[in-house]
């Protein structure tokens, strides 16, 4: 029932339709939330029926959303993925909490932000360099931090582009990944043992905003793959305690 997945060659009037769709997106950004279909059509001098179709298409893909009156449009969450996420340095107080944890454990301690629907390392451990940032952002399913992000999104499948295999431990099937993601959502902790680099593993817990419980960041420990598989009860308790202390500082 879905259209063919193969990229079809652009033909006929399709290039114009693509340009028009981008123009509609730009107009919504320029005019601000609440602009109506008629206003967009007038501003772009585009036929009304075409505008409505493009708007419905963009709403269907969730780049745009309809506001509750069903008349006005605004940019949807998914549109954030069109922009490069801006890395912001966390406040000094938050860095102090992360440094405190670094003083207590012999593992690498990394702090990542989940703004813009991507894993962005905002305070990587200088003594234990983490994996390539681009890799973490691109394949969220193989890192513990990335799995925290996925477990928070009902539509996580949309964020997993390709189940790339890095080591013999890498999860390579969607059903197995779904089971892992469900575990993360249930336990509130994500793990990964040697899935990105055979000898390394990671544990990560969410940092949630104190008011609404929104996922804002993830705090991760990285170390030898064999150690990550252990229960690590005290270590996890320590990790959670620091995540809780970070919550009011990052939200």
């Amino acid at each position: 029932m879905t259209a063919p997945r193969d990229p079809l060659p652009l033909s006929g009037r399709q290039p114009r339709a693509v340009r028009s769709a981008l123009a509609v997106l730009e107009e919504v950004v320029a005019a601000g939330p609440g602009i109506t279909a008629k206003e967009i059509s007038a501003a772009l001098k585009m036929p009304q029926a075409t505008t409505y179709r493009l708007l419905n298409l963009l709403v269907g893909e969730e780049y745009l959303v309809r506001l509750p009156d069903l008349k006005g449009f605004a940019l949807g969450r998914r549109a954030a993925r069109l922009a490069v996420p801006v890395t912001t340095t966390p406040p000094t107080a938050a860095r102090a909490v992360v440094d405190h944890l670094r003083g207590l454990v012999r593992w690498g301690v990394h702090l990542a932000s989940f703004g813009a629907g991507q894993v962005t390392l905002v305070d990587p451990d200088p003594d234990h360099p983490p994996s390539d940032a681009a890799l973490l952002a691109r394949y969220p399913q193989v890192s513990a931090l990335g799995r925290l992000l996925l477990a928070d999104q009902p539509e996580w499948r949309a964020l997993v582009r390709e189940l790339r295999v890095f080591t013999e431990h890498t999860v390579s099937s969607t059903s197995e990944l779904a089971a892992r993601i469900d575990e993360v959502a249930h336990d509130g902790i994500a793990r990964q043992c040697g899935e990105l680099r055979a000898d390394r593993g990671c544990l990560a817990v969410p940092v949630r905003a104190p008011g609404d419980g929104r996922l804002v960041a993830g705090l991760a420990l990285s170390g030898p793959a064999t150690r990550v598989a252990d229960p690590n009860i005290e270590l996890v308790a320590l990790l959670r305690e620091h995540a809780d202390r970070l919550a009011p500082l990052l939200a």
Binding site: G34, K38, E155
Partner: protein, 481 residues
């Protein structure tokens, strides 16, 4: 140009929160709609009923009915491309017409889904009994009663345990049953009984038109995807497609089945219309008597998948009415872990199952009971379809997105549905159906009057749907404002 009114503050959570938002895959939603329409059952049973009016023109009646179903689907899609509802057609109607019409649609849907669920259980029990008898099992009233109770409660449990699980069960069962049906009908079409074709009495245009109403009844339930809007991944794309494709697929299957049966009985006096159980007769004539138990199995499965899909929809209509504040508020509660409207399911399923089981145990014949339930359900759906088609252009005008094609679709379909409704009432003129419908309508009016008096504000703002919340919007305009 920037004198836009200040944006209303966006809600932090959807008014239909509690259901699992955006979780169902397109195929799972499509399967629910297909099961609701139960094309396998329609393939076996409906052509003979249509042939009673349309004779040799049976296939054309189905072609016309498919066109009508596609038109209804296009009206429904005007809404579902723009909003994700949980209450099915009534939530949509509320955005176009006044609260009274939305309420009428809600009541009609409760009748439609309730009766369709009961009919599906009855149908499943009927064919299960036939299958048991054919395999040498006992013929007793307890076989259908047991089937109704076991399947009814199993459907309730699955619906309770999560829409995802029940959607997958429905997908599997419906797929097997459609494959069985296609195999059976393919075999029958490949070798029609020998003998010269007898001249069929020409049904004329009138006959074909009269056959459209029973043919259209074969589609009821195809809109079930509209009740799963908030639970569907990418709902604005998936739900309209699911409804449209269900109409198209069901239509194709029915046309194919009708053609097979018309050709099969071309050499028999009276043709298809004279047949009581056309497919088994064709199977026996073709020298494949073993097809009949397979047919029974396929029909049983299709009916039970239909029961499951309709239970899901029925519970969600009730859930939405409760969230709207016009039904008891407890129905609007959701299970914390399974994220299903568990109170609505826990009340509706036992009432349906016990009521139906008692009726069957009292010795009511299954076949007339099935026809009765389906007829009442069709009445409910005709009303709901009529209202939603009427509401579509009004809704588009309200949000300033009216197009000529929307007006044209409504202008064509509404008079036809009105005529179908009149024909329906006339056709069931001297049967208990009219009495039951009148009683149900009176109950609905009584309910509406009570709601208007006791909860005027809730009635005035009827029509909750899964509206955009703060977290869906980039940059969060509501909070910033």
């Amino acid at each position: 140009m920037r004198d836009r009114p200040v944006l209303p503050r966006l809600r932090e959570r959807s008014p239909v929160h509690g259901l699992r938002r955006r979780g169902l895959a397109p195929l799972e939603v499509f399967a629910q709609s297909v099961s609701g329409a139960a094309p396998s059952a329609a393939m076996a049973a409906t052509p003979a009923i249509v042939a009673a009016s349309a004779g040799g023109g049976t296939v054309w009646s189905f072609v016309v009915a498919t066109g009508l179903a596609l038109l209804i689907a296009s009206c429904v899609a005007r809404f579902t491309r723009r909003m994700a509802a949980t209450g099915g057609l009534y939530s949509l109607t509320a955005k176009g017409l006044n609260p009274g019409a939305a309420f009428a649609s809600g009541a009609a849907l409760l009748v439609g889904y309730g009766m369709l669920a009961a009919a599906a259980l009855t149908g499943g029990a009927t064919y299960l009994q036939a299958l048991v008898a054919r395999l040498g099992g006992p013929v007793s009233v307890w076989v259908p009663v047991g089937a109704v109770v076991v399947v009814g409660f199993a459907a309730g449990t699955l619906a309770l345990r999560g829409v995802r699980l029940s959607a997958r069960v429905v997908l599997l069962v419906e797929l097997v049953s459609i494959v069985l049906m296609l195999t059976i009908f393919g075999l029958l079409l490949a070798s029609p009984p020998a003998g010269p074709d007898l001249p069929q009495p020409s049904p004329g245009v009138g006959g074909i038109v009269a056959g459209v109403l029973p043919a259209l009844a074969a589609f009821i339930g195809f809109e079930i995807a509209t009740a799963l809007g908030s639970e569907t991944r990418r709902p604005f794309r998936t739900v309209p497609r699911a409804v449209t494709w269900t109409a198209a697929v069901s239509g194709l299957l029915c046309v194919f089945a009708a053609q097979t049966q018309v050709v099969g009985f071309a050499s028999v006096p009276g043709g298809l219309a004279a047949q009581d159980a056309p497919v088994p007769v064709l199977a026996a004539a073709g020298g494949w008597p073993w097809l009949t138990p397979l047919l029974d199995l396929g029909l049983t499965m299709s009916f039970f998948a239909c029961a499951l899909a309709t239970t899901n929809a029925l519970a969600r209509v009730l859930f939405s009415l409760a969230r709207d504040g016009v039904a008891p508020r407890a129905f609007g509660r959701t299970h914390p872990r399974f994220a299903t409207p568990h109170v609505a399911i826990a009340v509706v399923v036992p009432v349906l199952v016990v009521g139906l089981a008692a009726t069957v145990a009292a010795g009511t014949a299954l076949a007339p009971l099935l026809v009765f339930l389906l007829t009442v359900a069709t009445g409910g759906f005709l009303v709901a379809y009529l209202l939603v088609c009427l509401a579509a252009p009004v809704f588009l005008r309200r949000i300033g997105e009216l197009t000529w094609s929307a007006v044209a679709a409504t202008a064509v379909i509404v008079p036809i549905l009105l005529a179908a409704l009149v024909a329906y009432v006339l056709a069931s003129g001297r049967t208990p159906v009219v009495v039951v419908l009148a009683a149900l309508a009176a109950a609905a009016v009584g309910w509406f009057v009570w709601a208007r008096l006791r909860r005027p504000a809730e009635v005035a703002s009827i029509g909750v749907y899964d509206e955009t919340v703060a977290a869906d919007v980039l940059g969060d305009p509501g909070r910033a404002a």
